[in-house]
């Protein structure tokens, strides 16, 4: 059984990703320099470079999950969160909980469960955690 998820990223998602990269590694010029000297020692530098490179281009993502335990992570409440984020754009989990009228801890746990299987990607920025990306489709192939 395979779960196949397709995603894309809006401008607002990319702004959050790049903001986090800038905070962690600096601007693109610094990332390019780090790439020359620390590429192997810090693998995330290469990933930051590709995100910078693609900042004005399309980013598409596919997630293939072969662990059927992912079924435990897919609940109606969690799909509601996915739909809400798709429709309303990225926002910190605290704001998300307020806007959907649910307890912060339950929403945090739901987002964490979806992150664990890469169904959602949350970007940490300071104390905030912001789920990013638009989930276009979720298919189950038997």
């Amino acid at each position: 059984m395979l779960f196949h998820i397709t995603k894309n990223y809006r401008k607002s998602d990319m702004e959050i990703i790049l903001r986090a990269i800038r905070r962690k590694h600096g601007r693109i010029e610094k990332v390019k320099k780090l790439l020359q000297v620390k590429k192997c020692a810090q693998p995330e530098i290469g990933e930051a470079f590709l995100y910078y490179l693609a900042s004005d281009d399309n980013i598409v993502e596919e997630v293939i999950i072969e662990d059927r335990k992912v079924l435990n992570a897919l609940t109606a409440k969690r799909f509601e969160l996915i739909e809400f984020l798709n429709k309303n754009g990225p926002m910190p989990i605290k704001e998300l909980a307020e806007r959907v009228g649910r307890d912060y801890k339950n929403v945090y746990d739901d987002i964490s469960a979806l992150n664990r299987y890469f169904i959602l990607n949350s970007i940490r920025y300071g104390r905030e955690s912001v789920p990013v990306g638009v989930i276009e489709s979720v298919e189950i192939k038997v």
Partner: protein, 108 residues
Amino acid sequence: METTSIWGDKVLKIKRYVISKDEVVESMEYHDGNRMKYYIYSYKIRKGRKLITLVRLDNLDGMEHMDIYDETGNFVETKEFPRKNFNDFVKIVKTFRKNIIAVDITNL
């Protein structure tokens, strides 16, 4: 709905093959037209909240090679390694899983 841009010649394609909630094989390919300019293929494991790269193939410096890391994420060594198709890399990872850092996969 806003999007990053209309479909152009340049695109970053990310693919994640999730073996389990603690193991993922990840591909990032930057395409310019029909040409794949850069790629990074990584095998990552989850330790607590962190994802740690164990093996990584890339061509970011223009040279196709493999970097190997230990289970704490510290860099161990670099080896020459011509690009594999991502699906082949997934097969190799699934065969060796976490033992992959102890196996010389350069001859596969």
